[in-house]
Symmetry: C2
DNA sequence: CCTACCGATCGGTAGG
DNA sequence: CCTACCGATCGGTAGG
């Protein structure tokens, strides 16, 4: 029971932190401000967390986990490259739009992690690029994607997807599926052999 | 002469600040650290600038000016939509890659501007989107781009372009023209009526 | 461009 | 979860 309450409180801290970090960035957000929005004293926050960076760490690595969970599902399905890329884009946009504050922190503030965490983070990033690259490679083998620079292609796909957190509004007129499909239309069409 | 020296020193401060802000972000960079890299005392920096935020302001609005200078040239040329979009992408990538540190600050740290500057900044951003949108509209009128959501299309183009500062290396194997052309190939091909 | 310094605020701890 | 507090550091100023 005590554990249940503590977990809920910690999740609350996490949510408020995500919102503050998103709006102001990690370094510009103080523990006093975080505590203020929670309605407690700054020192009290430390009953639930070890340090300010622990919060950032949790946000960054939990987000990474979300992306990889989706990636693993897609990798284990039997699909042609075009369908797989569309599925990968949809899954990626789903994770971003369903965790919009955490996504902003994930993309912006990972560089404020200290060693060795920042290095672990960079490794995960590379692995995710490798996953996307395998889809592009499959498409080239299938003869459906043109043979442009694979690394550049992956970076372009990531670029187009990752900026979504900057403008996506949960109550906007586009659902995440519509965003993903439009994005997939442009990117897949753009990569196709004509 | 005194003015010339002062101007050079101010530019030096600006360059070092761009590099530090890029690596650490604006809030996480202290004036003492900036002074340290310049080889002077923190208090001495204030002989050349009024405040820390003034440096950020100069970086952000000078970058905006660069983007708009290019945009104005392109708007005044007589071109079909496809060529105009390619020119716009090339110009945009040129500005980013030629000011790689300042670009990172521009995209990351504008939100640490105070009023009224942050609002001015947002207005400029909207104007730039309107400019890109006019190109998309032209393309739809010409029947070369498909009739998808214009706002979304513009945001996608900006997304794909703006992430470049994250991975571009001046000594990498791709020139900025190659990046721009590859990007234009994917985006224009992706937007085309088939 | 420096020394000397300001008030404010930072992340975090001790001890209850 | 609080009071009381720590040493460190912040952006910036006075006065030369």
């Amino acid at each position: 029971m005590a554990e249940l309450i503590q977990k809920t409180r910690k999740e609350h801290i996490r949510e408020v932190a995500e919102s503050l970090f998103r709006r102001q960035g990690y370094p510009a957000t103080s523990m006093r401000q975080l505590a203020g929005e929670l309605g407690i004293e700054a020192a009290s926050v430390y009953s639930h967390i070890k340090s300010k960076e622990e919060i950032l760490r949790d946000i960054c690595f939990d987000m990474a986990k979300e992306f990889f969970n989706e990636a693993e599902i897609i990798q284990n399905l039997n699909m042609d490259a075009e369908s797989r890329l569309r599925a990968a884009i949809t899954a990626h946009i789903k994770v971003i739009t369903h965790n919009i504050d955490a996504s902003a922190v994930f993309f912006h503030d990972w560089r404020h992690l200290s060693e060795p965490y920042i290095n672990d983070f960079r490794v995960l990033r590379m692995q995710y690029q490798t996953y996307l690259r395998s889809i592009i490679k499959q498409g080239i083998l299938e003869g459906v994607f043109n043979k442009s620079d694979e690394k550049f292609t992956v970076l372009t796909i990531l670029s187009a997807m990752n900026w979504t957190y900057e403008w996506y509004k949960p109550d906007g007129k586009m659902t995440y599926q519509e965003i993903a499909n439009n994005l997939a239309d442009i990117l897949i069409n753009g990569l196709k052999n004509s």
